[in-house]
Symmetry: C2
Subunit: 373 residues, 2 copies
């Protein structure tokens, strides 16, 4: 999804892809398949580039430092990126910045988890691997010391685990900002996101009925974190809105983020374009919404074996819906695309986006299509 923005800007991309059939490799002419954990591969690939950026946070910090010493700017840089790579580092830094977070502690045993639980409101607690988790992977809800012990037994040696209080949240929010090396920041409207089984499935922009003070506080947190951690590019701060009226930082991501996909069709400047503008040290584009309401719903692999059969129905039914398919084969639960709808009436917009997604997934079909709306 970075390529359409790059094409418009006239910025040539060179890709290092893990696999030849990766989505990005299908649409970028100057693409190479290689292992980003192999420093020599990375160095040879990066030769002559002005800037390196990422669509995930897993490139090892020493490799990024090596590229930087070769004269290739890495944006975001390794000192920022480590906070998105390691939840223990992230929690420590956010505490220093006095950014509100769930209570948390690095733990090395089931006893330590029990001790943390006792001091943090009791069971259940959440255990997370400090490194490598995503989309609900590497996260467990733990109800007793035995469950904690099983996680430790299964965890690879040397992997730190972080225990966190299980937050009684009313909903999840996300504050997405873009930050340029100059320090300029563009803050997108704060959105409501829905996670299903640990995977983001739906985003409503802006978050409905959000207290304006809380929206500002969420944006301010993202701005503070982006600035203090010297982030370049997109920073997504995923937040809990608690039932007692607080917001707490759940996760950080330093790349265009699923909770920002609505901006492609819904904002003046999409997150992928602002990411590129930021990493190129160009002035940022307006993050304003173009419609009163924009709703993005992910398309996950479902009963339909292929997505393309959904087009005739979805496009005929709703000539305004925006469809993005990622060129991925369908596997159950895999994010294979998203749809975006926008308009004046939130209930209508939600219904249109959900219907389109469910049709692509194969959850609904011809039998109920024409009555559904």
């Amino acid at each position: 999804m970075m390529q359409p923005a790059a094409i418009a800007l006239g910025v040539p991309l060179r890709l290092l892809a893990e696999r030849a059939d990766a989505s990005a490799a299908q649409v970028i002419a100057d693409a190479q398949v290689g292992d980003y954990t192999d420093l020599e591969v990375l160095r040879a690939w990066a030769k002559g580039l002005d800037v390196v950026t990422f669509d995930h946070e897993h490139v090892p910090t020493p490799h990024l430092e090596a590229l930087a010493s070769d004269g290739v700017a890495c944006r975001p840089g390794p000192a920022a990126l480590m906070h998105a790579q390691d939840k223990a580092v992230m929690r420590r830094r956010l505490a220093e910045l006095e950014v509100p977070c769930p209570r948390n502690r690095v733990v090395d045993s089931s006893e330590a988890v029990a001790d943390f639980a006792a001091g943090a409101g009791g069971w259940p607690v959440v255990l997370k691997t400090a490194r490598g988790g995503y989309d609900g992977k590497g996260v467990w809800v733990i109800h007793n010391p035995d469950e904690a012990a099983r996680v430790f037994a299964a965890a690879p040696a040397g992997v730190a685990l972080v225990a966190e209080e299980r937050v009684d949240f009313a909903r999840e929010l996300s504050a997405v900002v873009a930050r340029a090396p100059s320090g300029q920041i563009a803050a997108y409207p704060v959105v409501e996101s829905t996670q299903t089984g640990g995977v983001c499935t739906e985003v409503i922009a802006p978050a409905p009925n959000l207290d304006p003070e809380m929206a500002l506080q969420a944006q301010q947190i993202a701005i503070t974190v982006a600035g203090e951690l010297d982030v370049t590019g997109i920073l997504a701060v995923e937040l809990f809105e608690t039932r007692d009226g607080r917001i707490l930082v759940n996760e950080l991501a330093m790349r265009p983020h699923n909770t920002g996909h609505w901006t492609i069709d819904g904002a003046v400047t999409g997150q992928f374009e602002n990411h590129l503008r930021a990493v190129l040290d160009l002035p940022l584009g307006s993050p304003s919404a173009r419609a009163p309401w924009t709703v993005m719903v992910n398309i996950l692999g479902g009963p339909a074996p292929t997505l393309y059969d959904g087009y005739p129905h979805v496009q005929a039914r709703d000539p305004e819906v925006r469809v993005h398919l990622y060129g991925k084969s369908v596997r159950p639960g895999r994010k294979v695309g998203h749809v975006t709808a926008y308009g004046e009436d939130l209930a209508d917009v939600i219904q249109r986006a959900r219907h389109a997604s469910e049709w692509f997934e194969g959850k609904i079909g011809d039998g109920e299509s024409h009555e559904a709306r």
Copy 2:
């Protein structure tokens, strides 16, 4: 510009490019350099494709018929495309359809031009090559038989010339529609276009102060032509609005067209996406405008030797302006990009788009930038 739409739709493109450094070849992974006038090259390239489409109209008709007989759908098909390839064929067909056109006649000598002029309101008249002209090339304004004779003397043997009355127009309009093989048509708002030296330089959507009856008539002409000529994909009908309140067809194009570039940022569904949806026989997307006014201004090669230096100023000054650069080297007068602005106030939108274009071109620079607005 078709690639961003193809990426969103998840549709893989295979490109046959004339040169390795062509804009499209820079951004399409599955690209081949070859000569589209060589049938064997074309056939080998097209093998296995579902649909072939075009970003110009110059592929020879017999080649397209050969592809069709190989089982590769060509959209638009050769029977439609010949009307965009040959102005004599186009004028004859439009006359049959009783579509209003400037008076015209195929001519084979300066005497025939003089005879035509005598019957069509006198000198000057316009001479056009029936085939191969574009962007003002192959078009001459002729004031007397001697000038006509010079055109005939310089024209290659066998090229038909069409004489047309020189229309006293108030302005130029363009009606862009997309048509699917099913017959479904999406009609974009009628726009005003400004030509400078035969090259489209500015488009205002919708055309300001256009009589609604005339707007409907323009759309109806485009719909009639698209249907009667069995066009698939985008059809752009360039029109004259005469000072005495008529509209006349100037040119046809059967591909995404410069007068439709405003739709990328300004319409719910851009013309490139609707072109792809049409040639894939998918339902068309809404052609509605997203803002009251959208203005597109081309960036032509000018004093600035490179375009990228324009970014910091243009983007800092106007965070809402949309920039599209085509990855082309700068040559005087060459179309190398375009900018789009939109909003509620037409004068402001025009000013913003023109300023951005002029800055990229290098016509204005630091000395006057900050006072200009």
